[in-house]
Symmetry: C2
Subunit: 150 residues, 2 copies
């Protein structure tokens, strides 16, 4: 007989919603609300990627990404440049204004991570990272298979 476990969706949903609430609060001073900060963190690590690549990375639909990126451009956090290899495509970059707040943002996210994982052993921290990565890998595989069959 299968053991009844709390569904992963319920647990990750709770963690995500709380993270959103926390980051909305601490990033309010930058006018960064409702899950917009991950766009800056991704561009910080991968400057010059396209809107489509960000959408894939965050697993959000293109229409939502387009809206968020427009807002971040209006706020002067992101700028776009025409791709030299493909004039129809754009590459996205952080502005100096965004780069200036990244260290403080990373510190805030570090504090939140510390709150969440305070009583976890090093082994538990490794385990949760490994297993969640495996889950996300399964999701990516599923999405890829489904895109192909579109």
């Amino acid at each position: 007989m299968q053991k009844a476990r709390i569904p992963i969706t319920k647990l990750t949903g709770g963690i995500y919603r709380n993270t959103l609430e926390y980051t909305n609060e601490v990033f309010k001073k930058y006018s960064l609300g409702s899950g917009t900060y991950p766009y800056l963190m991704i561009l910080y690590n991968k400057e010059g990627i396209s809107q489509n690549q960000i959408s894939k990375e965050l697993a959000v639909d293109k229409a939502l990404s387009a809206r968020v990126i427009k807002k971040l451009i209006d706020l002067d956090y992101i700028r776009k440049e025409t791709n030299t290899k493909d004039s129809r495509a754009y590459c996205l970059y952080l502005t100096d204004k965004a780069k200036a707040i990244i260290p403080a943002m990373k510190e805030e996210l570090g504090i939140w991570n510390e709150i969440m994982t305070q009583n976890l052993t090093e082994e538990e921290k490794d385990n949760i990272t490994d297993i969640l990565s495996k889950v996300l890998g399964n999701i990516k595989k599923y999405r890829l298979e489904n895109e192909e069959s579109d």
Copy 2:
């Protein structure tokens, strides 16, 4: 030296956003979009709880909960009754229309859970549930302490 790990927020965020996309798609036929289905699942397990209790359970702010619950009442999935012990408060219940779709919804969520955890060992499934529960416990403790200091 601390090992650099992928932040839990990034992993749970990715899982959550994909879950939202999946459930938006499969629950579209019930007009249940953007994370509204968890309200029905909670009421299914805890009939008669209040709007505030649901907000706490889901870790969302009261204003958002109020909007979603209003929408679910308009869609005839939830009904509210005056609390017999406190006439200013309401208790929330699933309607027959909601109860009728719960089994199919649980099946859809089960399929998604299966996709996400397909290659995990039983031990890994236990581990991830235990550790994520611990993380959520830390978050709840933090919120409680912060509410007290409000």
